[in-house]
């Protein structure tokens, strides 16, 4: 099976990319946005319904009732599960059918029924699901350090929804050059630490580095003291996790001297989950262990000021205007107008070496998954506290280190 770039962006069952992604726990929702009603969610091309029964257990079931196909999105949530509105079949969170009110009492029929169901775990405000081939024995759902409370401050954003292929977003993180070009005039670049990495006139050096979990992009600039360098790393944890140098030094105009130590005390972790080939969700977790008591309030205020600064002329009807000045909008313009990888004509150069490394790694992972081998990076070592960290260093360290 020769895997090409064309296999990467597809997510349906039976596709190279889809079968690879199905080996992992994927974020499918946030605790805060899961109310006391069923939540329709599409994951890897499958229509599902996410809910929490009245005992507090999470369930992720196929959306169409196993009986006659009515959508469980309109089901009633009960103590023991969710009940289809049409004929009242009651399913527990594992997909077992507990009641069929129209059947004779004592009937064994319900024991033969299985509603499609997927294992679900909740962790630090995010809800993860496993859609893979071994639902009875899924791989461990990793204890991501920023998600498991150990004294810092944590912020989980509401899910953001995008209407283009997930890999356009993912590979963008293996491409540091866009930072100082696309985002060079954004608010980030006006800030004390950020202007070290957002300047097109004096861009940082960078190198992609293979890691056990995937890869990272290491950006460096000469430090303010001899023999030191400023470092900003972006990590890509396969299959679809990111940690970017999105720190208070970049965003919140904190004193960059705070970074002159073992690195940032701020983590910005992102989980991408494809809905289908043309849509994905993005979940972000910020975790901060530093001394600022109101870091997230400050960040929120700064974000509010980071609106697009671009003047829109009266005759300008381009649908994505304005975008300049707001990093998120800039990314949507750049990635959302790309075709799927593998379908686009491209000309890659040396500055694309991060993207090239990532695609090669993903092609190998797809191939390994297709061959029944463990793809790279399924496992992250836990630290002494049983936690898993993506080691994206942001801070100052000895030059050449």
């Amino acid at each position: 099976m020769a895997i090409t770039n064309s296999d990467i962006p597809h997510v349906g069952a039976g596709t190279g990319g889809g079968d690879w992604l199905r080996r992992y726990w994927l974020a499918v929702g946030t605790t805060r946005e899961l109310y006391d009603i069923p939540q329709a969610v599409r994951v890897l091309g499958e229509d599902l319904v996410l809910f929490r029964d009245l005992k507090g257990a999470l369930g992720l079931l196929g959306r169409s009732c196993a009986h006659r196909g009515t959508s469980l999105e309109y089901g009633d949530i009960e103590e023991r599960g969710i009940r289809c509105p049409y004929h009242g079949w009651l399913y527990d969170v594992s997909g077992r059918c507990l009641e069929q009110p129209a059947e004779t009492k004592g009937s064994e029929f319900c024991h033969k029924v299985r509603q499609a169901s997927y294992p679900v775990r909740e962790q630090g405000g995010l809800i993860f699901a496993y859609l893979g081939p071994h639902p009875e024995n899924p791989p461990p759902c990793l204890n991501f350090s920023p998600l498991v409370d150990h004294g810092g401050q944590r912020l989980v954003e509401d899910a953001r929804h995008f209407d283009y292929n997930w890999f356009n977003f993912y590979e963008n993180s293996a491409d540091p050059c866009h930072v100082w070009i696309l985002h060079g005039t954004s608010g980030y670049g006006r800030q004390s630490w950020g202007n070290r990495f957002f300047s097109i006139d004096d861009p940082p050096a960078f190198e992609p580095v293979e890691t056990p979990y995937g890869m990272k992009i290491v950006m460096t600039k000469p430090g303010s003291e001899d023999g030191t360098q400023f470092v900003d790393e972006m990590s890509l944890g396969l299959p679809s996790i990111l940690q970017v140098g999105d720190t208070p030094y970049v965003h919140a105009e904190l004193d960059p001297q705070l970074g002159v130590n073992a690195g940032s005390d701020y983590e910005h972790l992102m989980f991408l989950t494809p809905n289908d080939d043309d849509h994905f969700m993005l979940f972000t977790v910020d975790y901060y262990t530093g001394p600022e008591p109101d870091i997230f309030e400050r960040l929120a205020e700064i974000r509010k000021r980071e609106l697009p600064t671009q003047e829109v002329k009266p005759y300008d009807k381009r649908p994505l205007m304005p975008f300049r000045g707001n990093v998120r909008q800039e990314d949507i313009v750049a990635q959302g107008t790309q075709d799927l990888v593998g379908l686009r004509a491209e000309q890659l150069g040396p500055s694309d070496r991060g993207v090239i490394m990532l695609r090669k790694m993903v092609r190998e992972a797809i191939e390994a998954a297709a061959a029944g081998r463990d793809p790279k990076a399924m496992h992250l070592d836990e630290n002494a506290e049983g936690l898993v960290k993506l080691d994206s260093f942001v801070g100052v360290r000895p030059a050449g280190g």
Copy 2:
């Protein structure tokens, strides 16, 4: 030709279901909604235009002009037919071309032209059409008793339009269990007669019964006097006609003792017509021969009170909310979220025996039609008055009867 459930929901020419439906007169409009302008209507996947010429004759023609294909929806209605706006070709209701203003006077060309046309009949406020293989010699358009005035009160509702497959609606009527489950908390169940059949705690017995015209569902509960039973029947007249136990005893809170006689004096007849695989129209006729002078006004008031009673929470963005409490909305949620029969995964049990019987009957009818035999139920016997009735009994009769 092995017919499966997958053949049932398709309605285009050349499909099993479509060729079967083409053997019958189908309702395509209502008298009240046909104004003095052409009415675009899609029937069994064909784009047509329905109109009444100035002499009063009804026509149902192909929508695209036989000349160069402009839509007759924008034609002018005249004494003798409809005139295409582009070059003024005039067609009568039978599709003959009467005038071609741009051709030389006396030209014979128009005699060679035939616009697609279908026989149309008007009956009691409904307009029926026959799209089948024998337009010159169509089968008789049945004299449905509720449509032919003989002294009672009649109410024809405006056409209702649905955006899902017609058979989801049709087979729902062969499934009485949904009544006390899906509709169990609706307004109907709060009413004096209705609560006999809408209670999930004490549901009625039921049995599907094959009939010459198709089948009926007979629901029974013990009567209030020894040796009697309450009966509520729903009849399915193939291919797409329904009469449901939708009576004033159910809806209008009339004294149920009125039913202690030969049965209801109220008929609620329904005609389903597919526009295409994903849309259908529903035409309903209510006919009442009892003593209440203002039965329809009362019914209208009751229907107005039967709004969904469900509270919609501020975070609830589900598109079909609210639905609980209104029988029509409840049906749309249950049927409109089902995939086409034959495409859905299903698990049918004993309580689905009505649906199972109906599908088998329809598969056999499709097979018979495909083989050139007369499918079951094309003909209904007329009674002494020349009328055809679907015999859905609603009332009280001797137990075991």
Copy 3:
């Protein structure tokens, strides 16, 4: 290769119609509507971006950046070209890559990159492009007389956009009968000259005439003096150019005696450009060499009065209503509801002889293009002033002339 009508309406690369149209310069925009921002435009199924660099040069490039596929619609316009927002690649109007800010200074990589680009010419307020097989050596872009200033008054309308196949519009001009039928009650027919050609009661004679550039439709009526005739010609210059008898004698209620000379001093030239099979653009140029100083102001006032006169009844929900009374809306109803030529069932008669001639001519042109021969009408002879005219005579001339 047997060309049929089905080959005519398709415009994509590799289709008969598309490869034929690619041999010609096509109008793709107007000078007035091209602002200082990139303009997304779809031509013959290709997504392009039209812009003018800060030195004033026009460029028409592929919309997706050759690097990683981001849309140049969001690019920055600079002195030397357009710059992709993602990584700052700068392209000049000929598609050469001038800068790649993320690559090492002195890198030769950009010399290997070619962005898709097409030759563009500006003429009298219109912008033409050539999407054909010989971009280095395109055929000459014709000096259309109405577009090249030589003393008269010129009016270029903003591009009009239509959502149906371009050939429905084009062949409509080879069909004079629709004028007095479809448009018979329009404002045009109420006017002094127009009522000679817009009357269904007394229609003009007409004949299609083959010409070196394509064909013309010659409409005639007896003149007001013996031995004279009124003449109104519509010319079709292959592949997609029109000049119709859309003159002040028709529109502006000028004294028809003004036409009793060598013909109209008014030209109404139209250029059709397909966006894809279901959309096209129409560019119109009016050029007037007569004595009226404010001809276009008068015309604008008259057009404003030519609104649809049709009453729309409250129950009339037909989407294209009203249309009667406005020639442009009438054309949209007639053409916009037609299917693509070759897909529609049709019955053509003697009055369709203009359309029949046109289709035959286009089929032959497609066949010639496919065979590598020069199709009819690629070249128009220039007159002594180096100008090209479509000779649509409108005026009075000797009968039989």
